[in-house]
């Protein structure tokens, strides 16, 4: 079976979120791997948004552009998205149209007149989708019941009624136009977004404190932790601004609690001084930077990989720092635990770079067993100090860390250059350069904790796509598309971006660097480190994620 791609399109507030979420659930309940991504405007009602759902036998966690089915909830949505429909695709819409590919079902009217209220229009639409997709009505009923279980009997009944009505209406018209079929399978998948994986992983890693200021697309992280306060026990504080957010997290971390904050570009900009503070005071800190297109406010609800070099170079002065860019929610789980562990071990800030695409998209995983990275703590122990010095000069650069109140040992942290006790120093001859050196030593050490990039099919490849972060799924799919047409592509994918790992690029291969940005930031970063040169670039910077098709097209434009 080829993957089926459904686009639900409509205005904000019109129900596409509900329909899309339900469709994701339904596909999973039928035993299929599902991938979804969303694009939405920066408004609460109106505009034209899309919720794209990809359904397949195996997880292919990458966006598609062409659709099999377009559920267009209004005329504007139809106009905007119809061009994405495959030739043999169909449209389901309340709009009227006589074309063959068109299933015209006035959801709201039917809902109102047959079920009693327009609010059932969404479930009607789901019914139609279920029919068109050849899903099982009984299973669907079960899921719908479940979803509405807390809304009372009447609500459930009406929704089932709407579902069936939609199913039947579409069924009548679908017969020869809908070739799809999704019979029940045995498989079950974990389906989640990075904005769900990261807070869970954080709590698992021992994070006990988060302070943040709302900012799309990062807000989901703090919201998840607030909602799960009772189970996860994380202290959640909405700060008055991002400066407060990062400084509170630093305070909590200094006082012994693993702590984090999450934001997007503009908020991260405000946190940069705090990141330098964490570097100087050697306070572990995890910052999620969920990228969206800039500069400034930019396209606040869209996706981009535009802040890589900003993150790598964030903060005045020189200090060790780590930048990790997970490629999917499972990797995000791992990287989050790793971030807390390494922040703790090296007593320094770690930045997790995600983006709107990664934050909001549902990915499927056959297994989600991220237990081989476990929380590791690096306290010094209170007993073994004759004289405790928070910033003792050591060979590794790592000083013994205790927290205040833990014992009689006083823990003194200073943002000025300081001596081993944490007191301001003006000793330029010995202490100041020794402290600077000690901190930078940790960067050398950190390098040893960094893994080389992932290589896929590089042996025997004619050329290699080099990528980072959330584009992995699309690059992998691009490779397999190209291989399908005899073009031998490989992939080198980076998820640990600073410090860069010791690594030798395969020799004599043409490199194409693939990024969701305009200026080629990975290119610049790699060039500064590995002395490589690239044959070409694939850049996308319109606020939408890279797709396999896009990558292939640009590659072929380069290569005739």
């Amino acid at each position: 079976m080829q993957d089926i791609h459904v686009i639900v399109a409509g205005a904000a507030g019109e129900g596409i979120q509900t329909i899309g979420d339900l469709l994701v659930r339904l596909a999973a309940a039928h035993g299929y791997a599902v991938f979804s991504w969303k694009e939405y405007e920066s408004r609460i009602r109106g505009g034209q948004n899309r919720y794209a759902v990809r359904i397949g036998m195996e997880p292919v966690n990458a966006p598609l552009s062409e659709a099999d089915i377009l559920l267009a909830l209004n005329k504007g949505a139809l106009a905007k998205y119809e061009k994405l429909l495959k030739d043999n695709g169909i449209i389901i819409s309340p709009e009227k149209d006589n074309r063959d590919r068109f299933l015209s079902i006035p959801f709201a009217d039917i809902a109102k007149h047959e079920i009693g209220q327009t609010i059932y229009a969404n479930t009607l639409a789901i019914g139609a989708l279920v029919s068109a997709l050849g899903m099982d009505l009984e299973i669907t009923k079960g899921v719908v019941k479940n979803v509405f279980s807390k809304k009372g009997e009447d609500m459930i009944d009406k929704n089932i009624q709407a579902l069936v009505e939609g199913f039947n209406r579409a069924g009548r018209e679908c017969r020869d136009r809908c070739p799809w079929n999704l019979p029940l399978r045995e498989d079950r998948y974990y389906v989640l977004t990075a904005n769900e994986a990261i807070p869970m992983a954080a709590a698992y890693a021992g994070c006990r404190f988060i302070s943040a200021y709302p900012m799309t697309p990062s807000t989901g992280i703090i919201t998840f932790l607030a909602k799960e306060k009772d189970r996860l026990g994380v202290f959640v504080e909405q700060a008055e601004d991002e400066i407060a957010a990062v400084n509170m997290a630093i305070g909590a971390s200094y006082a012994g609690a693993r702590a984090m904050t999450a934001t997007s570009g503009g908020g991260f900009a405000l946190m940069v001084e705090g990141i330098s503070l964490a570097g100087m005071t050697e306070t572990p800190l995890v910052v999620v930077l969920a990228q969206r297109p800039g500069p400034a406010t930019g396209l606040p609800t869209r996706t981009a990989q535009g802040d890589l070099l900003f993150a790598v170079n964030a903060g005045h002065g020189e200090f060790p720092k780590m930048v990790l860019a997970p490629s999917d929610p499972l990797d995000a789980f791992y990287k989050t635990v790793m971030a807390f562990n390494l922040a703790d071990q090296y007593q320094t800030p770690v930045i997790l770079l995600t983006d709107q695409f990664l934050a909001d998209s549902h990915f499927s995983f056959k297994d989600f067993e991220p237990w081989d990275v476990t929380p590791k703590f690096h306290w010094a122990g209170t007993g073994n100090h004759n004289e405790y010095k928070r910033y003792r000069l050591t060979e590794s650069g790592i000083s013994p860390r205790l927290y205040p109140g833990q014992s009689k040992h006083l823990v003194c942290a200073d943002s000025d250059e300081h001596n081993e006790y944490g007191h301001i120093t003006e000793d330029l001859e010995k202490m100041a350069p020794a402290m600077a050196k000690k901190r930078m030593l940790k960067l050398d050490m950190l390098k040893k904790s960094v893994h080389p990039p992932e290589e896929v099919a590089t042996k025997g490849a004619d050329f290699i796509l080099v990528s980072w972060g959330s584009t992995r799924g699309s690059v992998l799919e691009a490779i397999s598309l190209m291989r399908g047409t005899g073009v031998k592509a490989g992939m080198i994918h980076f998820t640990e971006l600073w410090p860069l790992p010791k690594y030798e690029f395969p020799r004599g291969k043409a490199l194409y660097i693939v990024e969701n940005n305009a200026s080629g930031q990975l290119s610049r970063l790699l060039r500064s480190q590995y002395n490589i040169s690239s044959r070409g670039f694939v850049h996308r910077f319109d606020g939408l994620p890279l797709t396999a098709g896009y990558i292939r097209r640009v590659y072929h434009e380069h290569n005739g």
């Binding site: 994701v24 021992g206 971390s253 702590a259 503070l277 301001i424």
Partner: protein
């Protein structure tokens, strides 16, 4: 029982000889002895400035962070470990200028910490520019024609927002200041102590000017009278009232819902999350 010596730091003091900051330092030590907290039970948090150097001169835990950002750091410390006596030491520029937003919003939170503001009416460490408390008309090193705007009234803003402990002290009235600090630290919820701390290098008035004006509030002054307190908070001229200007009954403090539902102990005492719980949560995503 701790003694003054227990709080004696080895760090060389970088203030100007004769600076009234020394009086504040002395009052802190005395207050700590009165309170009976050991150095390791106290955590001082400061920003950057002359005032913000104070934690170096007391033997306690401290976090000397960024200019203007002491309060959010202190909130984090306090959230992580409510057992510590967390005390912010800030300059007027630090706390009301760069850090004004944190001050304002922390009035709402009412954390059980103490904020001590050294009000020297100047940015001293950066060599004498006007601060948010510099009186109108006074010259500073960047205000060649004198400050053109009236000062902020942050004590009044605090009272307005129901801060339950608002006091003003004088750096040269060490014993009085000691008492204020003791009351402040022992007060449940946010306590604010602004200290009149003349700067003998950049200030425009001699110490005497202050000594002549500072008046301890009368014995029968009622610190629960909010409008009287507002009045005193904004009095700065012929007289400068010092003492507890406003105090009221305890109200809910920062993080109280978390403290009630999750833990009232330091967060470091929470057990690691159980892998079983994580598996359970993850299973909810197995659709």
């Amino acid at each position: 029982m701790s003694t003054m010596d227990d709080y004696q730091s080895d760090a060389e003091i970088q203030w100007c000889p004769g600076c009234p900051n020394f009086g504040i330092l002395q009052a802190f030590k005395k207050a700590f002895v009165s309170i009976g907290k050991d150095p390791h039970e106290i955590c001082l948090v400061s920003g950057i400035g002359q005032a913000a150097k104070l934690p170096h001169y007391l033997k306690c835990n401290f976090f000397n962070g960024l200019h203007g950002r002491a309060i959010p750091v202190a909130l984090g410390v306090h959230a992580a470990n409510p057992d510590l006596k967390t005390i912010v030491v800030a300059g007027d520029g630090d706390c009301y200028g760069e850090g004004g937003n944190h001050f304002l919003h922390t009035l709402r939170r009412n954390p059980d910490i103490t904020v001590v503001v050294h009000n020297n009416e100047v940015y001293a460490l950066t060599k004498g520019q006007a601060s948010p408390t510099t009186p109108k008309g006074e010259r500073r090193t960047l205000q060649f024609n004198g400050v053109q705007v009236p000062p902020l009234q942050m004590l009044a803003v605090a009272i307005l927002h129901g801060c339950t402990f608002v006091a003003r002290g004088f750096a040269l009235e060490v014993d009085h200041l000691q008492d204020l600090l003791v009351s402040a630290v022992e007060h449940p919820g946010l306590s604010l102590v602004e200290v009149v701390q003349p700067c003998i290098t950049w200030g425009t008035h001699p110490l005497k000017w202050y000594q002549e004006r500072v008046r301890i509030v009368k014995e029968d002054y009622d610190p629960t009278d909010r409008s009287a307190a507002m009045e005193l908070a904004m009095t700065w001229g012929e007289t400068i009232p010092i003492g507890i200007l406003y105090q009221s009954g305890p109200v809910e403090t920062f993080g109280h819902d978390y403290r009630h539902t999750v833990t009232d102990r330091p967060l470091t005492e929470l057990k690691p999350l159980d892998k079983g719980l994580m598996e359970k949560m993850l299973s909810e995503f197995r659709l």
